[in-house]
């Protein structure tokens, strides 16, 4: 194997993987801060503000606390499985990120072409489904090993919930695959570019099924039964503390990010800008230097403006300031930034923007809805989502067949 091949096939992916694995926990810690902030604002309160400016160091404090927290393994538990369970939860959650592309175009570092994804495999969607189906083991083992009634009942319930919603999840994806004719993530986005429309339009029902099933898969409100503290205390991780608990937590949020990424790629055009085939909207593609500060400024304004009790004006002001700064930067061409109108950067901007919206939806739901009861949750999955998603596959097939016949004749 030549040195070049080694760098391209082993070293660059390794660097990417290390970056992902090291940055992700930090990202999740801050996602959690944002979640607490958003929930707090929705609930007319202020959320963490003690540690650091506006609570910005809170995630660090939490992480340190979890790291040095005493780890209790219950007496009657199966120690091996008890330790294995959180690890078995984290691995599949992380490994799913391997096939998520967040931009289309590659960029160059030190003369080597770096792709904006770790790898793109032909069976990416299958891989994702397979990997996510492995996530169930952490739950079952955690519940079983704890030897506590709440844990075991919680584990049985959550695992049954997860397998139940994996079925509509798989069916919902199939509609997209029929349209794109591929199971590779990059191919699916490219197919959307060619079609000139995000697949959420032809696959609205599919997206609906996917989104609901994804919320249930990640155990979020209104399907957060595994940790329904009102009934089963904390479900399968009742007995967990310290870092092991943190891993369950990490896995849950990683899963949240992963399903949001998949939703973005499959239904919302991945890194494509809105209306990818409307030429006059080119600035959505190239104007990242203004759009990015606009978004960040608006977000910051909203986040920190709550202190005054008025969220909207600071949000607009923050967005305005950001946009102005971006415009000045672009105009003055400081440090040649504007010439960096790389498709990779712009694609990444759109991708993360969409993913953030999904994550916001998750938090928003958590702040709004009551929780389903277990039997209702199962009924929703089996009696509504599965028939609906199967019907979606059939209707999509029918539409493609009819369209093909019409085109073939005309």
């Amino acid at each position: 194997m030549g040195q070049d091949t080694l760098i391209r096939n082993v070293l660059i992916p390794t660097a990417q993987i290390l970056a992902v694995v090291l940055i992700l926990p930090l990202l999740i810690a801050y996602l959690q801060l944002v979640e607490r902030k958003v929930l707090g604002f929705m609930q007319a309160r202020l959320a963490p503000r003690r540690v650091g400016w506006h609570g910005l160091l809170q995630p660090i404090a939490d992480a340190v606390k979890l790291l040095i927290k005493e780890d209790v393994i219950p007496e009657k538990s199966d120690r091996f499985l008890f330790t294995l369970a959180p690890i078995a939860t984290v691995i599949p959650a992380l490994a799913a990120l391997a096939v998520i592309p967040f931009a289309g175009a590659p960029f160059t570092v030190f003369g080597y072409e770096v792709k904006p994804f770790i790898t793109d495999v032909n069976v990416a969607l299958l891989y994702l489904l397979a990997i996510s189906s492995l996530g169930i083991y952490g739950i079952i083992l955690g519940g079983w090993a704890s030897n506590s009634k709440y844990s075991l009942l919680g584990a049985l319930r959550s695992s049954a919930q997860m397998i139940s919603y994996e079925v509509p999840l798989g069916f919902a994806i199939i509609g997209v695959m029929m349209l794109a004719g591929s199971a590779s993530m990059v191919d699916i986005v490219e197919a959307q570019r060619k079609a000139g429309v995000w697949y959420v339009v032809p696959q609205l029902v599919g997206f609906f099924c996917y989104f609901i099933a994804a919320i249930a898969e990640t155990n979020r409100v209104p399907f957060d039964l595994p940790e329904a503290e009102a009934e089963l205390v904390a479900g399968f991780h009742t007995e967990y503390s310290g870092m092991k608990f943190a891993f369950f937590f990490l896995a849950e949020y990683t899963n949240m990010i992963v399903v949001s990424c998949i939703a973005t790629i499959l239904f919302f055009g991945g890194w494509l800008r809105p209306l990818p085939n409307v030429e006059s909207l080119w600035w959505l593609q190239n104007g990242w230097l203004i759009l990015l500060p606009l978004t960040l400024g608006g977000f910051a304004g909203w986040l920190f403006g709550q202190r005054t009790g008025r969220g909207l004006p600071p949000m607009i002001a923050g967005g305005g300031i950001g946009a102005a700064a971006g415009a000045i930067l672009a105009m003055s061409d400081l440090g040649g930034l504007a010439s960096l109108s790389l498709p990779a950067v712009s694609g990444a901007f759109w991708f993360f923007f969409k993913v953030s919206l999904f994550l916001f939806m998750y938090i928003w739901f958590r702040g709004t809805y009551p929780r389903y009861r277990y039997d209702q949750l199962m009924a929703l999955g089996w009696k509504w989502l599965i028939p609906l998603s199967v019907a979606n596959v059939i209707v999509t097939g029918l539409a493609i067949v009819v369209k093909g016949a019409v085109q073939g004749r005309g």
């Binding site: 009634k149 205390v233 958590r366 389903y372 009861r373």
Partner: protein
């Protein structure tokens, strides 16, 4: 025959959703509830016995701590009982202010119930909204009597002091904003399909059972029994106000929820009327310095937010009661729990406990 062995699960006393220190021993078959056994007494303080060694004035702070979520109602009932025993006439202004306080308390108590009930069923945000509005009421109480939870707001024979200046305007202000806030809770819950699924048909208590078990308050009215102490045995000038008694039809958790929501609206109506027709004058009748009711016994009931709150006093003519007995609605309503839970799932237990709105201070006394 496949043995799904029945399993006992403890819910409480340290459990996130049993409202204080209630312990339930659930007998499960799989996830289905075979039997529920409430274990109470974790908060028993012997208030009834304590009362036998207190003068009548000194008992009122104890009543605050019975149903600490609705202390005004307890104060009102206790003072009413002693007044009845002594044959005291409470001045009309004091009566009206008592009604305003009691109805504000009803709203505050129902808000707390709504918040925790919704929290139990997973809707965490409603909890913060109801507490935000409950704070407004607690502010009113603080301005009136100086305390926010254990008010000790009344005195035998009337009130300690008249309302502070500007207080009625603040109550009016509260009444002006509250309905729109209540609309928000309803938007979040009343029509929400998840909420409907969690509450409709859950914990059904039939009319007959409700009466047979001696339940009262919204638990009884949710089952469609028209019984409200404020109507049937009016006290403290309740007969002068115009209000409806909301009744449920099916007796499920959802009906009890709707009854309480409607009660809050009716309470606003009562407060509005009381404010509009607030009589002038004294707020405290002439009361001897040392209260020594004549020998005899009295039973006085009021409609607390939880139901029929009874006070039974036996006096031997001394300055302390000979025997004191509280009929607490939470205790009686709790007896309906096993009947409502049988055959349901664990998650329903949470909903049902929430819907009967017990306060452990009231249950254990």
């Amino acid at each position: 025959m496949f043995r799904t062995e029945e399993m006992d699960i403890n819910m409480g006393p340290q459990h996130p959703s049993t409202h204080g220190v209630l312990r339930l021993v659930l007998n499960l078959d799989g996830e289905e509830i075979v039997d529920v056994r409430p274990v109470i007494g974790y908060l028993h303080r012997g208030v009834e016995k304590l009362s036998e060694h207190r003068t009548y004035a000194m008992i009122e702070p104890l009543t605050d701590r019975l149903d600490y979520v609705a202390a005004i109602s307890e104060n009102l009932g206790y003072c009413g009982a002693v007044e009845k025993l002594m044959g005291l006439q409470v001045p009309p202004r004091a009566q009206s202010i008592r009604v305003i306080l009691a109805e504000l308390q009803r709203i505050a108590s129902h808000l707390l119930w709504l918040g925790t009930h919704a929290l139990d069923l997973g809707a965490m945000t409603v909890f913060f909204y109801t507490f935000r509005e409950r704070e407004l009421i607690l502010d009113l109480f603080e301005q009136f009597c100086g305390a926010r939870l254990t008010y000790n707001a009344m005195r035998i024979g009337g009130l300690l002091e008249d309302v502070p200046p500007g207080w009625t305007d603040r109550v009016r202000h509260f009444l002006s904003i509250f309905p729109s806030r209540q609309k928000e809770y309803e938007d979040l819950l009343t029509v929400n399909r998840i909420w409907l699924g969690r509450t409709q048909g859950v914990g059904v208590l039939s009319r007959e059972d409700a009466v047979a078990l001696g339940t009262s308050g919204p638990t009884l009215r949710g089952s469609g029994v028209d019984y409200d102490v404020r109507k049937s045995q009016p006290y403290s000038s309740y007969d002068q106000f115009d209000f409806d008694v909301p009744l449920g039809t099916k007796g499920d958790t959802y009906d009890r929820y709707l009854v309480r929501m409607e009660e809050m609206r009716q309470s606003c109506r009562i407060i509005q009327q009381a404010l509009d027709r607030l009589p002038e004058g004294e707020v405290r009748a002439k009361v001897p310095k040392y209260i020594k009711p004549p020998a005899g016994e009295v039973y006085h009931v009021v409609e607390s937010p939880r139901g029929e709150q009874g006070f039974y006093i036996v006096s031997k003519g001394s300055e302390m009661p000979y025997r004191m007995r509280f009929r607490s609605p939470s205790f009686v309503n709790l007896q309906a729990l096993p009947m409502m839970c049988k055959g349901r799932l664990i998650a329903d237990v949470v909903a049902i406990i929430g819907s009967i709105d017990i306060v452990l201070g009231d249950v254990d006394r």
